[in-house]
Amino acid sequence: MAMTRITTNMIMRNYQNNLTSTLGGLESARKQVETGRRFSKSYEDPTAAAKAAILERRYMQNQDYQTSLTNVQKWQDSQEDIVTALNDMAITIEKEYSIGSLNDPVGEAGRKAYAQALEELQNSMVSTLNARFGDTFVLAGNDGKNVPFTLEDGADGYKVLHYRGKPVSGPDADPAVLKELAGETTFVDLGFGMDIQGDTVVASSAFNTALPGIKLVGYVGDGNGTTADMVTMVGKMAKALKEPTFDADEYKTMMAEFSDHRERLEDQFSVLGTKTQLLNATKDRLESEELAITQQFDDAVNINPAEAIMNYSWANYAYNSALKVGTSIITPSLLDFMK
C-alpha cells in the first residue's frame, strides 16, 4: 500500500484554510451576540428572511389600521356630540314649548315670544348640524367640503331645510334624490379585508364613517310618513304660533310628528353606540395582533441571548485550540535532531 507523503506545504495550506474557517465561525458568532439576530444577510437563511419581510409588512399594516382607527373614533365622537346636542334641543322643544304653548292665557304676545324662541332654536339646530371636524363637515356625506344644511324661505311662509342644495321637506322635495343622498357611504379600511368590486366597496369589508344629516332629521319619503323634517317642523310650529288664530289641533299634530322624530333620533344613539363597540373590539384585536406579529418576527429573526453567548464561547474555544495546534504543527523535523 502506498503511503501518501505529507509535505510541509500541504500541512501549512490545510492549517491555514481550517484556521480561516474557524475564525469565520468565531466572527459570525460574535455578530450574533452583538446584534441579537441569527443572521444579518438574507442569503444566510433565505426562508427566514422572506418570512421576516412578510411579517414586517403585516406589522406596518397593523400600525396603519391602528392610526386609522384612532382617527375614525374621533370622527365618530364628533358625530355623537352632534346627536347629543340635537337631542337636547329637541327635548327642550318638546317639554317647554308644547305644553306651555297650549295654555291659552299666554295670549298672542306670549305666543309670539314663543315663536321667536322656536326660530332661534331652529337656527341653533342648523348650526349644530353644520359642525365640522377639522376642515370637513361631519354630516355632509360625501360632500364634506361644502356646508350641508341651509334654511331657505319656503312658499308657504316658513323656512324649509335644504340639504346639499336640495329641499328636504315641502312640495319640491324629491324622495328619490333624498333617498340616494341618505344612502351615501364613506368607507375606511380597518383591516376587515377590504374588497372592492369594480367601483364599489363591499359593505361588510370596511367601516362606513358617513352619517348623512338627513338621516337624523328625517326627510320626505324616508318611509316613516314624514311630512316635514325636524328642523322645518320647528319652523312650521313657529309660524302656527304666530297666526292670529291659534289652531291647537294642528299644533298638536305637528308636535306629535316632532316627538316621533325625536324618538327616532334617540335610536341613532344605539346605532352609533354599536359602531363604537365595533371600533373598540377592533382596537383590542389590532393590539393583540401587533403583539403576535412581534413575537413571530422575534422567533424568525432573533436569537436567544443565552444561545448566542454559548455559541460564541464555543467558537472562541475552537479558535484558541486551533491557534495552539498551530505552534506544534510547524513540527520539528529531522533537521532539529541532526548534530
Binding site: T8, A53, K145, F187, I196
Partner: protein
C-alpha cells in the same frame, strides 16, 4: 589467466562516486531552499550504474568483471501530469462559481433589506400616506395630497439610486473583463511563448530547464481559471539524439470545438466587446494550421461567448448576458439583466396602475418618464409628473358615476383612494417586461410588495446556492492540490535524510579514494626496495 586490471582504474570509480554524491547534495540543497517556493516541483538526481565495457576477443570465462562506477543521467522533476489535468479542470469550475458569487454579492448589497430601510419602507410610507388621505376628514385636502406626493418622491429617489447602483454593477463587470481579465489572458499567452523559447533553447543545449518549466506551469494554472484548456506536450526530434518538448494549449469549447491558442512559438489572442445593450462578447483568434516554414495561419476573431463550459469568463458573461426566464428561449442563469428587468417591471406596473386609476376617475397621469411620456417606465426614468408637483394635477379621490359622468359634488368621497391602496396592497398584478426578449413572460404574479420582496429573496436563494457550490468545488480543488503536493512537494524529513545519506556516501567515496591511495602507495613506494 584473469584479466589484468588497470592500476589506476579504481580512482575513476571513487571520483565518479564523489561527484555523484556532491551533485546529489546540490540537488537536496536546491529542494530544501525551495521548500516555500510557490509551484516548485521537487527534483531528483537520477543515477545509473556504469556497466563494464562491451565484449572483446581477449575475454575469458574466468574473468571477473566489475562495473565502473556511477553515472549521473540527469536531474528530473517529479510531477504527475494527470493530476495537473484534474487540477486545471477544477480551477475552471471554481472560476465560474467564484465570478458569479461575487456579482450576486454586489446585487445582494442593493436589494437585501434585512438590515436597512429602503424601497420596502418607502412603499409602506406611500401606503400609509394614502390611508391617511382616505380618512373622511382628510379626503381631498390639499395637505394630504402633498403628503402622498412627497412620499412618492422619496420612494422614487431610492428606486433611482438602486437602478443606478445596479447599472454600476454591470459597468464594473464590463470594465473588469475589458481591462483586467482579457489583457491578463493575452499577457499570459505572451509570457508562456517566451518561456517556451527559453526552455527549448536550454534543452537544445542539454539543460533540462526545470525551474523554467515550473514557471510555465504556474502561468498555465493562472490561464486555466479563465476557461477550460487542454495542454499537450509534443516531443520534437531535432536530430542527433536531441529531443525537446514543445507545448500546445487548446481552448475546449462546450460543443467540443477546439481552438488552438498557443503552439510552441506562436499564440493567438482573446478579445472582448461590450454591446450598447450592456451584453458582452468574447472572441478568440486561434491557430488553424502550421506551415512548413514554421509560420502559422490564424483564423478569427471567432465568437465563443456561448461556447464556454466553465471559467471566470463564463461566470462574468453569464451575469452580463443571461436574464433567466425573460430570455427567449429561457436561459439557465438569472444574471444582472434579470434583476434589472424585474425591478423595472415592478416600477412600471405600479406606476401605470396608479396612472390608469387616476385617469379613469377623470384626472391626469400622476407619473411620467423623464421625457414626459406615460409608457415605458423603468426604475431610472420614472418621476412624479411636473404637473403634480406644481399643483395642476392631483389625485382624484372620487370615482365617476356609473353612467360615466363626473360626480362634482362628491368633494370628500374616497373610493378612488381606496382603489389605489388596494392596487398597491392587495391586488394581484402580473409583472412582465416589454424590454425582454420574451415580453409575455410573467416573472411574478401578486402584489407590488410581493414583487419587490421576490427580488430580494431570489437574490438570497441564488447566492446561497452559488455559495454552496463554491465551497464544494473549492474543497475538491484543495484535495487535488493535496494530491499534487503529495507527489511533487518537498518533504523536509525526506530531504534531510537525503542529506545524511549523501553525506555518508561522500564520506565512503572519500574513504575509498584514501584506501586506493594507500594501496597504491604500498605498491609504488614500498614494493621492491629491499636492502635500500
Amino acid at each position: 589467466m584473469a584479466m589484468t586490471r588497470s592500476t589506476f582504474a579504481g580512482f575513476t570509480t571513487a571520483q565518479l562516486a564523489l561527484a555523484a554524491s556532491q551533485r546529489a547534495l546540490d540537488v537536496t540543497g536546491q529542494n530544501l531552499s525551495n521548500v516555500n517556493t510557490k509551484g516548485y516541483t521537487r527534483q531528483r538526481l537520477d543515477l545509473a550504474s556504469i556497466s563494464p565495457t562491451g565484449a572483446s576477443y581477449f575475454m575469458a570465462q574466468t574473468d571477473c568483471r566489475v562495473g565502473q562506477g556511477v553515472e549521473m543521467t540527469g536531474v528530473i522533476q517529479i510531477r504527475d501530469p494527470f493530476l495537473d489535468i484534474q487540477y486545471r479542470n477544477q480551477l475552471a469550475k471554481v472560476g465560474t462559481v467564484d465570478a458569479q458569487d461575487s456579482i450576486l454579492k454586489q446585487i445582494g448589497e442593493i436589494f437585501d433589506e434585512l438590515d436597512k430601510t429602503a424601497v420596502q419602507a418607502g412603499l409602506e410610507a406611500v401606503v400609509s400616506a394614502l390611508k391617511e388621505m382616505s380618512q373622511p376628514n382628510n379626503s381631498n385636502q390639499g395637505a394630504s395630497d402633498t403628503l402622498v406626493r412627497s412620499s412618492f418622491e422619496t420612494l422614487l429617489n431610492v428606486i433611482h439610486e438602486h437602478a443606478s447602483t445596479l447599472g454600476t454593477v454591470r459597468e464594473d463587470v464590463i470594465s473588469e473583463m475589458g481591462s483586467t481579465d482579457i489583457p491578463n489572458i493575452n499577457q499570459y499567452l505572451d509570457s508562456i511563448v517566451e518561456l517556451n523559447k527559453s526552455i527549448k533553447s536550454t534543452q537544445i543545449l542539454g539543460g533540462s530547464a526545470l525551474e523554467l518549466q515550473d514557471q510555465r506551469n504556474s502561468l498555465i494554472d493562472e490561464l486555466a481559471t479563465y476557461f477550460p484548456i487542454d495542454v499537450e506536450y509534443e516531443d520534437l526530434n531535432l536530430g542527433g539524439g536531441i529531443k525537446v518538448d514543445t507545448l500546445k494549449i487548446t481552448l475546449k469549447g462546450a460543443d467540443g470545438t477546439k481552438y488552438v491558442l498557443l503552439d510552441d512559438a506562436n499564440h493567438g489572442s482573446v478579445s472582448f466587446e461590450a454591446g450598447a445593450d450592456g451584453k458582452g462578447k468574447v472572441s478568440v483568434t486561434h491557430i488553424t494550421a502550421k506551415n512548413a516554414d514554421g509560420s502559422v495561419t490564424m483564423q478569427g476573431p471567432d465568437d465563443i461567448t456561448d461556447n464556454l463550459a466553465h471559467g471566470v469568463l463564463k461566470g462574468n458573461l453569464d451575469a452580463l448576458n443571461k436574464s433567466g426566464g425573460f430570455d427567449d428561449p429561457p436561459s439557465d442563469f438569472n444574471g444582472i439583466g434579470y434583476y434589472e428587468k424585474l425591478f423595472d417591471s415592478v416600477v412600471n406596473t405600479m406606476v401605470t396602475t396608479l396612472n390608469d386609476l387616476n385617469i379613469a376617475a377623470g384626472g391626469e397621469a400622476l407619473f411620467t418618464t423623464t421625457t414626459g411620456a406615460t409608457t415605458g417606465f423603468t426604475a431610472s426614468n420614472t418621476k412624479v409628473s411636473d404637473k403634480w408637483v406644481n399643483g395642476e394635477v392631483r389625485i382624484i379621490t372620487a370615482v365617476k358615476n356609473p353612467d360615466g359622468s363626473d360626480a362634482p359634488d362628491d368633494t370628500t368621497a374616497n373610493v378612488n383612494v381606496l382603489k389605489m391602496i388596494d392596487a398597491l396592497e392587495a391586488k394581484e398584478l402580473e409583472f412582465k417586461s416589454d424590454a425582454a426578449d420574451n415580453p409575455n413572460y410573467i416573472a411574478f404574479k401578486g402584489t407590488v410588495f410581493g414583487a419587490y420582496n421576490k427580488i430580494g429573496s431570489l437574490q438570497s436563494i441564488d447566492r446561497k446556492a452559488t455559495d454552496a457550490v463554491l465551497t464544494n468545488r473549492l474543497s475538491v480543488l484543495n484535495e487535488i492540490a493535496d494530491n499534487k503536493d503529495a507527489v511533487s512537494g518537498v518533504y523536509m524529513d525526506e530531504e534531510v535524510m537525503n542529506l545524511m545519506r549523501y553525506q555518508q556516501s561522500y564520506n565512503a567515496a572519500a574513504r575509498l579514494m584514501t584506501t586506493l591511495d594507500e594501496a597504491l602507495n604500498t605498491l609504488i613506494n614500498n614494493t621492491g626496495v629491499v636492502g635500500r
